[in-house]
């Protein structure tokens, strides 16, 4: 196990290093940087002034030197300065994380709360009307773009309650903030809950037809006991994986939903930074997302070992 952990850790570092090179090169692949955007909107270009700004931002350096500056800074916890606000990138990013994190947690809670029970019901009642209805609902969950779902929710709020759930940075209490965030969280979580539900259903069905389940039934165990004590526990294994992966990949849904609901979170901030070619922000945020994905993948693999004693990462 020790050797496996070390190897795995080194691979994680390698992946993150590769990601940092990829994102760095990709951002600088195209001609045009923030100075071009500034001078485009100003309407005229003074080459001397442009060169001066580029020098201030370090954009005149060779690309390798720029990369080394960034990475060595990152290692010291110095993320550089944002181009647009000229404030330290860390100060720009950190305050925006809590809102996004709360949204993500709420969306996950939503997806598990709805996805798992509905998936189990759908499997236990396989090929009944209820099963078909639930399957169509879950399939539509995978088909609706989450920003459109967000817009529909906004529309419903406006037309039925005459009120728009706009996020305020200083809400009354913890609970009122949660209540306010739960609306966009539902818009994001609907898709994940559909995914969780489909996987729970197919995993449940697979387990339900195994021999030990038949044995349990033959012994005279009651239906709920067979379904929940015997089957569900084993069916949850792949579901845990998908929940973990969804946790890391929620950021995609959060980007559009934060834009729709005007939530000042880190996901919307990434899009703004991409539009402005604000390299320090984009680079660091992308790395931050990559770290989350890589760490979550690792945690999921470890959870697997804890949940299923048959799995061992040795060799």
């Amino acid at each position: 196990m020790g050797a496996y952990l070390v190897r795995r850790f080194l691979l994680m570092l390698l992946t993150l290093f590769g990601m940092s090179v990829l994102i760095f090169v990709m951002l600088r692949l195209v001609p045009g940087n923030i100075t071009d955007i500034i001078f485009d909107s100003a309407g005229f270009v003074n080459p001397a002034q442009k060169a001066k700004i580029e020098r201030q931002l370090g954009l005149d350096q060779p690309i390798v030197a720029q990369y080394i500056t960034w990475i060595s800074g990152l290692a010291r916890g110095d993320l550089g300065y944002a181009f647009v606000s000229e404030r330290p990138a860390l100060e720009e990013i950190l305050p925006r994380i809590p809102v996004t994190a709360k949204l993500a947690v709420l969306a996950l809670v939503f997806s598990v709360l709805f996805g798992v029970p509905l998936g189990v019901i759908s499997a236990v009642r396989q090929n009944t009307g209820l099963d078909y209805a639930l399957r169509v609902v879950s399939l539509s969950g995978l088909s609706l773009p989450s920003f459109w779902l967000g817009l529909l929710i906004l529309m419903a709020c406006v037309n039925w309650f005459g009120w728009i759930p706009i996020y305020r940075s200083t809400p009354g209490s913890f609970w009122s903030e949660i209540a306010l965030l739960s609306i966009p969280a539902a818009a994001v979580g609907f898709r994940s809950s559909a995914l969780v539900m489909r996987l729970t259903r197919s995993s449940m069905l697979e387990v339900l037809r195994q021999d030990y389940v038949r044995t349990a039934r033959a012994k005279g165990a009651s239906d709920p006991s067979v379904n929940y004590d015997h089957a569900l526990r084993n069916a949850m294994l792949p579901v845990v994986t998908i929940i973990g992966i969804e946790a890391a990949f929620l950021i995609g849904g959060l980007i559009v939903t934060e834009t729709v609901f005007n939530i000042p979170g880190v996901a919307r901030f990434l899009v703004e930074a991409i539009r402005w070619r604000d390299y320090p922000i984009v680079q660091n945020l992308v790395m931050f997302i990559a770290v989350i994905v890589v760490v979550v993948n690792f945690v999921v693999d470890m959870a697997y070992v804890a949940l299923d004693p048959r799995i061992k990462y040795e060799e």
Partner: protein, 297 residues
Amino acid sequence: MAVIDHDVELTRAGANVRGRLGSMLFFVRRYPLGAVGALIMLAFAATAVFADAIATFDPLTTNARDSLAPPGDRHLLGADFMGRDMLARIIYGARISLAVGLGATTLGCLVGMIIGLLSGYFGGWLDLTVQRLMDIMQSLPLLVMALVMAASLGPSLTNTIIAIAIPLVPNVARVIRSNTLSLREMPFVEAARAVGMSETRIAVSHVLPNTLAPLIVLATAQFGSAILVESALAFLGLGVPEPHPSWGRMLSESAAEYVRTAPWLVIFPGVAISAVVFGTNLLGDAIRDMLDPRQRF
């Protein structure tokens, strides 16, 4: 246990199905939801191809008098702020969605297939390098990767297709690789080698055709997500640029302002996206059931 009626089971499994029409009828009866999905996809493709004949308005012509006209006799689905007919824009928008969906899926699957086949069949250092590269590409969510790609390539139809195709590559490569790994050890590969076939020829004409079933299953799923990602990119202002009518951009940020005053601008493009992706998912599920019997639930 119930008694097995062999005739019923045989019919269910598709025995005695003759001819193209017969197998189509069998598909409809066996996978009714899949047939609905296929119908939706057909209608979608026909709309995109015959947009010129179907649309009664030009999607780009602005008309100040019709600004924000509600749905009615003149504009069936209303008109947008610039007085452009919504129905025409949605019809022409199908072209963008179809182009991006087909283009990105084809490109992503093709590249992924080649990479997966090479790394699975030939293995060695090539396989190791490719796997690490795929690790790197999979460490970002699809939309984030596509966002960065789209931003760095610049806004155009081709670039949007590339930006969506690249993040699709690792999924395809992984699936093809793992299939190739098990196919490589099959007796028919050994037989081909025994009669003196070259390794490249075995890979292309014996291994590759056997990976097509999982590839088709994957491609249908990718098609739907490509359309969803395109609409999200367009919604965020980083997709196909004006004046092309893209469903996602029709819903872009300004749409939030019309939630109160012109709901038709918000409802219809979203319905179009959802219907098409829903159709893909229905069809994809049926195809998966058909081609991948191990997952038949």
